[in-house]
């Protein structure tokens, strides 16, 4: 355990001054800010009339100036935007070692390669959890300023928020493999982009509940009525893909020739 903690400390240290940390927090914070703008538009009939496409979107979402609606937007941001942002985080954590040329310095050490990767997976999880908590706090701040209506079923809303977080984190685990296999950022970022596009198409033709990278968005409510089509099989598929992603990342790092 001590060795694992040392690997974790080393991994956290590597990210200490990375600008990318702040870039992900700023990018993810766009969701609560956008939610705040939605509320302002809804409350002001004149602005609503001028907002055009945005107003149509707000109406389509059945958005109301309430805590429930606002938390719903934040949850959908995790389910949809999270796949992209968490994927970006995973690509960075695992791909940077190749882009910085430091991967070779991690391979012949008294600490096992598995522990080094476990530390990376731990940092990925911590980073994603910090992102969703940050958004929740920003949302709390904006919602308080906007004096939203009383929140009903607060625990249910938070439960949805954090379950969506867990599903999205799970969906990001296999991306690590593409970083180690592709030896850099490009392959994982390409894969993330591809999953986002394919998720849209697959969901539109009704197979979203079987596609791991569509499941968090569907659970968050971003797909509207499609949420009801999620079944135990959907969650099992997501878990199986995540576990497989974790195992093949570790196996590849341990057993494949490392030439970069």
């Amino acid at each position: 355990m001590k060795r694992q903690l040392l690997a974790l400390q080393a991994e956290l240290m590597k990210n200490r001054y990375s600008r990318i940390v702040w870039v992900t927090f700023i990018a993810f914070a766009l969701a609560p800010i956008m939610g705040g703008i939605f509320i302002l538009i809804i409350r002001d009939p004149e602005a609503l009339a001028k907002a055009g496409g945005l107003a149509a979107k707000v109406r389509a979402m059945g958005f109301t100036p309430s805590w429930n609606s606002y938390l719903g937007v934040l949850t959908q941001a995790v389910g949809v935007g999270g796949v992209l942002v968490f994927g970006f985080v995973s690509s960075w954590i695992f791909g940077r070692e190749y882009s910085d040329g430091t991967a070779k310095d991690l391979l012949s050490l008294p600490i096992s390669r598995t522990r080094i990767l476990n530390a990376k997976f731990a940092v990925y999880t911590i980073w994603c959890v910090c992102l969703v908590i940050s958004n929740l706090l920003i949302g709390l701040f904006i919602g308080t300023i906007l004096q939203l209506d009383l929140l009903e079923r607060i625990w249910w809303g938070l439960e949805q928020y954090f379950i969506t977080t867990v599903l999205t984190i799970l969906a990001g685990l296999p991306i690590a493999f593409f970083a180690t296999w592709g030896k850099g950022y490009l392959a994982p970022l390409g894969f993330v982009s591809l999953t986002v596009v394919i998720a849209q198409i697959i969901t539109a033709i009704g197979y979203g509940p079987l596609f791991p990278w569509a499941i968090p968005a569907l659970y968050s409510g971003a797909g509207g009525e499609y949420k009801a089509s999620l079944s135990t099989l959907s969650y099992l598929i997501l878990i199986a893909v995540s576990v497989t992603g974790y195992v093949i990342t570790i196996s590849y790092w341990k057993f494949a020739d490392q030439t970069k």
């Binding site: 240290m13 590597k14 001054y17 990375s18 991690l106």
Partner: protein
């Protein structure tokens, strides 16, 4: 004691043999220089020694233990493979701290010691991304040396260093060897390898084509006496008459290859003066390592 022993180490990338049946032994305290052109298989061999690449055939023994996934003496080994790399947003000290933790060391003073030793004190709080190439090389060496390893495996350790840095690293390697460390290094700066290595291996197209000690190397370097006179044709005749092996070079120098002349070139000068043909120039030529290396790989090819 053999610190490194490889037995018929072979690695294919596709159908190309990056290393082909390479068997080497490096003894305790030895500095082994590994020479080869780019793509000769030096880095592949180094990566196999470090367990980064698995051979298709053959074994690696380090400290008399076979290198398998169970090998656990990595804190006895320090290494630098290809271009030294560092986390760009971390300072020199922080970069070393990352490896201090990963190597589970327990004396933070080791970091300051190695920073001092490699003359990085002035840059210890400087981010790695703004370091000069030479200082990045020093940082790479600091990472390799921080835990005082018994075996150092260095790929091109003096790349990017200025002349002062090269001398410092040369002295450092000699000092480490004197204190019992074993060093395996590859370099394309052949003259530099000759200055530090006790033994040299020459690899070409994946094969170890020659292995020799520094004394053997000295014996195998071509030596000859070069002479210039106002009448080289006559001088050649005169020298042949006293049983010297003589030839005229492409540069119109008289080349005398026999040991008698090499040992006492002043006798050549004296003889020619006595014959009324005083030489314009008499000099002893010794082949340098670059020439020896190229001659060796051309001969084998």
């Amino acid at each position: 004691m053999q610190i490194i022993k490889t037995n018929s180490l072979t690695k294919f990338f596709g159908t190309t043999a990056a290393t082909d049946n390479i068997s080497i032994q490096v003894e305790l305290g030895e500095i082994y220089g590994f020479l080869g052109l780019n793509g000769a298989g030096k880095t592949t061999l180094i990566r196999m020694l470090l367990g980064m690449i698995k051979p298709n055939n053959g074994t690696v023994m380090l400290f008399d233990k076979e290198l398998t996934s169970k090998f656990n003496q990595w804190n006895d080994i320090g290494y630098m493979v290809e271009t030294p790399s560092a986390y760009p947003n971390l300072s020199v000290r922080e970069n070393l701290m990352v490896y201090y933790k990963l190597r589970q060391l327990n004396n933070p003073l080791e970091i300051d010691f190695i920073i001092e030793k490699l003359k990085l004190s002035k840059y210890k709080d400087t981010k790695a991304k703004v370091l000069s190439m030479g200082n990045q090389q020093r940082l790479g060496l600091a990472k390799a040396l921080m835990h005082r390893p018994k075996l150092l495996i260095l790929d091109e350790p003096i790349n990017g260093l200025d002349p002062e840095g090269i001398v410092e690293v040369r002295n450092l390697l000699k000092e480490l060897s004197k204190n019992g460390s074993t060093i395996f290094l590859s370099s394309h700066i052949l003259g530099e390898v000759a200055k530090v290595a006790n033994r040299i291996g020459i690899v070409h197209e994946g094969k170890l084509i020659k292995e020799l000690t520094s004394n053997e190397l000295n014996d195998q370097l071509i030596k000859k006496v070069l002479v210039q006179t106002s009448d080289n044709a006559r001088a050649i005749e005169l020298l042949k008459s006293i049983s010297h092996k003589v030839a005229l070079s492409e540069d119109d120098d008289i080349e005398i290859l026999d040991g008698k002349a090499i040992k006492q070139p002043e006798n050549i000068s004296k003889f020619l003066v006595e014959q009324g043909l005083p030489p314009r120039q008499v000099r002893l030529f010794t082949e340098d390592l670059e020439m020896f290396f190229l001659r060796t790989i051309r001969t084998k090819a």
